[in-house]
Symmetry: C2
Subunit: 521 residues, 2 copies
């Protein structure tokens, strides 16, 4: 027995005694598990891989999280690349922020949802929490760096201790993909561009027919006022309206009356308005509504909608948008226009007969609203000011693309079509026809890599030719080079097209150039 | 007042008293700021959001973290793109894993450094910790999914509660950029390919002359045994040797003798070996060394080095590599070859006269070893087995590119050269020559976007022409369209090349095509 092994065995004995003592003393489960883990780690160090001693905890990712396998990453990367192209077409610049923030940065920004924030353990030093979205970190970044205008995009993971329905594309760790325009500009120009971006993103991803619902927080507030809701209840009632995308009006009315103390008449008045959706003609109709046009907030909201609809028409978006008074959005920080992109197929599939038409979309709220919802956003003019020591405001409007939901839809489609995406980009596989050629393979690979050609080999000294060629077919590698002494003695190698199995001899000196000529196959 | 609120108010009182005491005692600024932060967090929990109390905490990112501004992101993205190209050239596939893991996954994997792991607060449910590197998550992923071979790359942030010297490119949150080959292959073929990848990455990034130091954990253990180190001290002495990249031999010797209880003679014998570096001839010399060739571990390590050096020679790496017996690497999990890429310029600059040549590299240990170190890795054959319920091993070898350090070097160079990277890709700015043209601008923009042209405008109704043209020059936008009623009435617009200021009239109907013809300028 070598000395290292002896030493580890000694340590295992000591650690084993410790675990037994802890168990006898009925110490806390965590403490015992920690020491058991150490014990198992020591045993693993012995490298007796056969020993049945590995960790006993379930091998899994944390609840609500997942790994992305190469197949998923390939799809994800292609989706994100196309989204970034849209963002760049509109002048976006990228930023990145830390995955956690000082807890105070997040406190008081998310209303009822603040309980979903992940906190880090206090290990001495600062009190930290995981970011809940990318919007509050942007506001902190702008205030901290005194930046008064930017068009930025940010693609990163955010964290919510939700109880996710992961089968429906909802997670505790998920990607957000945000584009925001910060700066003091003329009304609705930036807002309309964000709506345009949502539409370009959904078009480029080709995930089916969609509608972008539009509404305005000022109009919602004005409408509540007109219906007789006390100002102190605006946010609570707004949050009830937000549930119309997953619950029928009767349930929402019940929440307003039973839980939020609204009288039934007031609720019914709200019910009349939130059923409405349409276009410019609906704005006209509401501007003529006597209850609404007596309330300045409502008029301002409607005038904003009027301008937004006009700009959207200039962007050829009429067929894509719907002014929808039931759209409320959950987050507290919105102050103006709000919008949400919803897949129409999803909406129809999930609508239950119990639901009315204008709120019959599918199911649960998500990063971007409902599961059918694949993008959302709005204007938030006061958030940056909350971080500035002097309260200096930087008006912002932005959009968040619900990429997780989009991944789910596209993955389901790929599975249905039995599409197998390539997960690597290898162009040439370098194979040996017989034994003893591994050094020749390394020389050829070195030459190919130097020419920028993507190439690999089996990493075995003497792999079987058939196994090598099967590898090429399975991985959809277009070309294979087959080395053999006969050809090599004449300075040649066999170049094989994998799908056609056509082979021809190519001089080693011309190999890279010949491969370049054949690619892309 | 509800009970929660009462409890928070009590806590605020206690915390307020603590802050006052610390201030009275003139405690360190950091300590006081931490406690003030807690106080403010408590106050924020009261949720008195309406109060006109912009936060009083310092507006900052958490200690050891930073934002990336657009300028930095542009550089970072171009570095990562080039690295990914190398990874793909070698057949790499991407995966992603959650940013946190079950705490047990990380327990017992990092030796002395485990104290640097960030834990999440226990909010009910699973006990979680932030990932410390990308290697242990890979091992968990392979074991969990029973994957026995993969070439994967993974670019993501990792977390260490270190005390970072951020001016030197060290952070608590930083990107790792890993390529690993998992699978049972023939000796040193995968290992040599990883060394080749390090060299291709450093070549493609063009960050200056470098050397890749190579060593072998089995040789180190055999060498310790040959010198008479008790097996129980191998890891401790290895960790002392690891410090040779920042401390002179005399300090390391002192640690071995005073702290780790080695006798002086044994330490001196080690000192003789760790001074050695060279190539294949050094392997020969050591294989002939009577002390070493009596120890099976040493012989195995040397034979491995011999094969590795041969393969590296086939990859034309002789001028880039150095077999270096002082290289030890900090992490516990390595079992075979270890390597580290070090920038030579850095090494020379920081070497102090007190340091001997072979250990005179610069300064502090980092994600990838020393600050001069920009890549590192090695073989770890037992890590996956630690996660497999039956201990089934999957041999692995990999490399981690120290991208943060590379960013720092390239940022410093860009600053020195006064290079201003473009942070957006806008190709055309759509300007108004006079008032009242904003709707025309939206129409033209809509046409350009539809043609895939990257275009923006001022987002103001009536911007000044000069301001618009200055914006183009500042942001290095190559083309501007200047709209004016005169031209528009003839169906024309003015197209201006921003740098030359050359203008010509172009028919609106031909605009996108004409812009395509002019780009890239």
């Amino acid at each position: 027995m070598n000395a290292t092994r002896k030493h580890i065995l000694d340590q295992i004995k000591v650690q084993g005694d410790l675990v037994r003592q802890l168990k006898a003393a009925k110490e806390s489960k965590e403490k015992i598990e920690n020491e058991v883990a150490r014990l198992l780690a020591l045993k693993a160090e012995l490298g007796d891989d056969a020993a049945p001693t590995n960790q006993k905890f379930t091998l899994k990712t944390p609840k609500g999280t997942r790994d992305y396998a190469p197949q998923q990453m390939t799809l994800r990367q292609s989706v994100l690349d196309r989204i970034v192209q849209v963002f760049k077409r509109h002048g976006g610049e990228a930023i990145d922020t830390p995955v956690f923030e000082l807890k105070e940065v997040l406190t008081g920004k998310y209303g009822e949802d603040s309980k979903l924030i992940y906190d880090l353990k206090d290990q001495g030093g600062e009190i930290l929490s995981m970011r809940y979205d990318l919007t509050v970190p942007l506001a902190r970044y702008l205030a901290m760096n005194k930046i008064s205008s930017i068009k930025r995009y940010h693609i990163a993971k955010v964290y919510r201790r939700d109880n996710p329905a992961m089968t429906r594309g909802r997670y505790r760790e998920f990607y957000q993909c945000d584009f925001d325009i910060a700066g003091l500009y003329d009304p609705m120009l930036a807002d309309a561009e964000c709506v345009k971006i949502v539409s370009e993103v959904l078009d480029t991803l080709d995930i089916g027919d969609y509608v972008i619902k539009l509404n305005h927080r000022q109009l919602l507030d004005g409408m509540f006022e007109a219906c007789g809701v006390p100002a102190s209840s605006f946010r609570a009632i707004c949050s009830a309206v937000d549930k119309l995308d997953k619950s029928p009006w009767q349930d929402v009315r019940k929440e307003m009356v039973d839980e939020k103390g609204l009288d039934g008449d007031t609720a019914d008045k709200i019910g009349q308005y939130v059923r409405l959706s349409g276009g410019a003609e609906l704005v006209e109709q509401l501007l003529a509504d006597e209850k609404l046009n007596a309330v300045p907030n409502a008029v301002k909201g409607l005038e904003g909608m009027q301008l937004l609809l006009k700009y959207c028409a200039l962007f050829n978006l009429e067929q894509r948008i719907s002014f929808d008074l039931s759209l409320a959005r959950g987050l507290d920080y919105y102050t103006g226009v709000i919008y949400e992109g919803v897949l129409k197929g999803e909406q129809d599939q999930a609508a239950s007969p119990a639901k009315t038409t204008q709120n019959g979309e599918s199911s649960e709220s998500e990063s971007s609203g409902t599961v059918g919802s694949v993008a959302g956003g709005g204007r938030y003019d006061n958030l940056v000011g909350m971080f500035d020591p002097r309260g200096k405001a930087v008006p912002c409007v932005g959009v968040s693309i619900g990429v997780e939901r989009i991944f789910s839809v596209l993955e389901a489609r790929a599975a249905a079509n039995k599409t197998k995406l390539r997960t690597n980009d290898v162009e040439v596989f370098v194979a040996s026809a017989h034994k003893g050629l591994h050094e020749q393979r390394l020389r050829v690979l070195n030459q190919l890599w130097a020419a920028g050609i993507k190439a690999e080999h089996s990493l075995k000294l003497n792999p079987k030719l058939l196994a090598q060629l099967q590898h090429c077919e399975e991985h959809q590698i277009p070309l294979a080079i087959v080395l053999g002494d006969d050809e090599l003695s004449q300075g040649l190698v066999k170049l094989r097209e994998v799908t056609t199995r056509k082979e021809s001899n190519v001089p080693l000196t011309d190999l890279s150039a010949e491969i370049r000529r054949r690619l892309p196959l």
